[in-house]
């Protein structure tokens, strides 16, 4: 059979041009045959019963022939109907699963985070009044600088969602006061357009951040920030060869009493943190549980140092380097792969190094230097995003 004819037959199965015989017509045709045959046998002298029996014997299975004929005319349509129906059922099933998973993931994430927050004693949101005064190092007020307030969440980094974080900007003013509502577990981060000055997790109050501006920056060039401030602030050398660590393991048991577990670690030590089986009953759905360790120190930029994907809330291990930070903080976050939504909380578990904490004397200094100008029309947020610390 030619290819053209095959296609023609296929189309004829989908849109039949002639009306195929019904079951009744097939049955009538076969019954007529049997009646004719029986009449002939009867005319030859057989009784009606014998004639009919003989006619049926000569014919074979009437039901089988009827089925064969019906399938001959309707089989292709029936198969196509089954295929289409099966496809529709499959599509509906996929949609239903997608809707269910989306709903369940969101609710599971929210429920798990709420449960965990309650378990570690962190709950409702707080209002943080913030007053910002920008000054140069000598205390001179600085104008024409944009300042952003970032309720800092566990998403950044590695979960960078800057579009959710930007709250407010100051322009052409050097002093601004506002109020930020954020979860108690968050930290408030204050940045200029391309730098980072972290106010840390603060109670309500008034804080001052100072930036140092070099004269050429005022000519309208965009700036690239070199985060030397923290290094200078803490007087640690910026060198890649500082790592001289030894392995050490800390086990953290969640959900069993207070979690204030100060660990005094030697400086420059690589530490493995194991999150053991918890007693928190949280439905994770298909979320991923991330264990993150962040090194931090007073008023200085934070830095996620390690994380691990924990498929279930049973056990997990994160390895972290504590290079020059005075403290490290344990975080736990849920990441929903389906919706790309991340939610995290800070666990009150800190790792204290033996290095004396930085004094933080004087205003925090950020050194700015000229860099690649931003593309025309780029938003301050976009520009800031391009210069975020990795």
């Amino acid at each position: 059979m030619s290819s053209l004819r095959k296609h023609r037959d296929l189309l004829a199965g989908v849109w039949p041009t002639a009306t195929p015989p019904s079951r009744e017509e097939i049955r009538d045709e076969l019954e007529d045959h049997l009646a004719c045959s029986a009449a002939e046998f009867a005319a030859a002298g057989l009784s009606p019963a014998q004639a009919e029996e003989k006619a049926r014997a000569a014919f074979g299975s009437v039901e089988a022939v009827a089925r064969q004929l019906y399938w001959l005319h309707h089989g292709r349509r029936i198969m196509l109907q089954r295929i289409i129906l099966g496809g529709l059922v499959g599509v509906c099933a996929i949609l239903a699963v997608a809707v269910f998973v989306t709903y369940r993931q969101s609710s599971a994430t929210a429920g798990a985070v709420a449960t965990l927050q309650t378990a570690v004693g962190q709950g409702a949101q707080v209002d943080v009044p913030v007053r910002i005064v920008l000054t140069a190092a000598d205390g001179t007020p600085v104008a024409n600088r944009e300042v952003y307030l970032w309720p800092r969440r566990i998403e950044e980094p590695p979960f960078v969602l800057p579009h959710e974080s930007r709250l407010w900007a100051v322009q052409d003013r050097y002093e601004q006061q506002t109020q930020v509502t954020m979860p108690a577990a968050y930290e408030l981060l204050v940045t200029d357009a391309d730098g980072v000055v972290n106010l840390g997790r603060r109670p309500p109050g008034t804080y001052t951040a100072a930036v140092a501006l070099e004269p050429e920056l005022l000519a309208g060039h965009w700036v690239d920030t070199e985060i030397l401030a923290r290094m200078r602030h803490h007087k640690y050398p910026l060198a890649p060869s500082w790592i001289g660590y030894e392995l050490r393991t800390i086990d953290v048991q969640l959900g069993r009493g207070p979690l204030e577990l100060p660990f005094h670690l030697p400086s420059l030590e690589r530490t493995t943190v194991r999150l053991l089986a918890g007693t928190i009953d949280a439905d994770l759905g298909n979320n991923s549980l991330w264990l993150a360790i962040r090194g931090t120190s007073d008023d200085t930029v934070v830095w996620l140092r390690g994380f691990v994907n924990v498929p279930s809330f049973t056990a997990g291990v994160a390895q972290v380097d504590l290079p020059f930070y005075a403290r490290a903080t344990l975080y736990m976050a849920y990441f929903d792969w389906w919706t790309s939504h991340a939610e995290g909380i800070k666990l009150p578990v800190t790792f204290q190094t033996d290095v004396p904490p930085p004094t933080g004397e004087g205003p925090l200094e950020i050194r700015l230097k000229a860099g690649i100008p931003p593309p025309p029309g780029a938003s301050p947020r976009a520009r800031a995003a391009t210069t975020r610390p990795s």
Binding site: D28, D32, H33, F59, G60, V62, L72
Partner: protein, 114 residues
Amino acid sequence: MAIDVDWLRGSLQTILLQVIAPQASYGYEISKRLRQRSAGLLDLNEGSLYPALHKLEQDGLLTSHWEPTPDGRRRKYYAITPAGLRQLEQKREQWKTYRTVMEGLLGDSDVQPA
């Protein structure tokens, strides 16, 4: 001698076209004509006739219509279509060629068993 069923299966549609070509007919009558014209050598199960008839109709080589019978039933008559006639003519030509070839190959009766 009965005819090889494979030969019959391969030629059944052509035979049916040939039987129906002169005059529209119904299933039982077609079956009867086949028996008569083959002198009883075509020992065909009557039920196997109908799938072949319906296939010919589905392929457009036969057409059908219903007529009432005297005893109140209805009867399906098959008639050959122009396409069926063309097909029959082609098959006839093919058969002639085939017969010539086969007679040339098998007609010699001088072959002796070893």
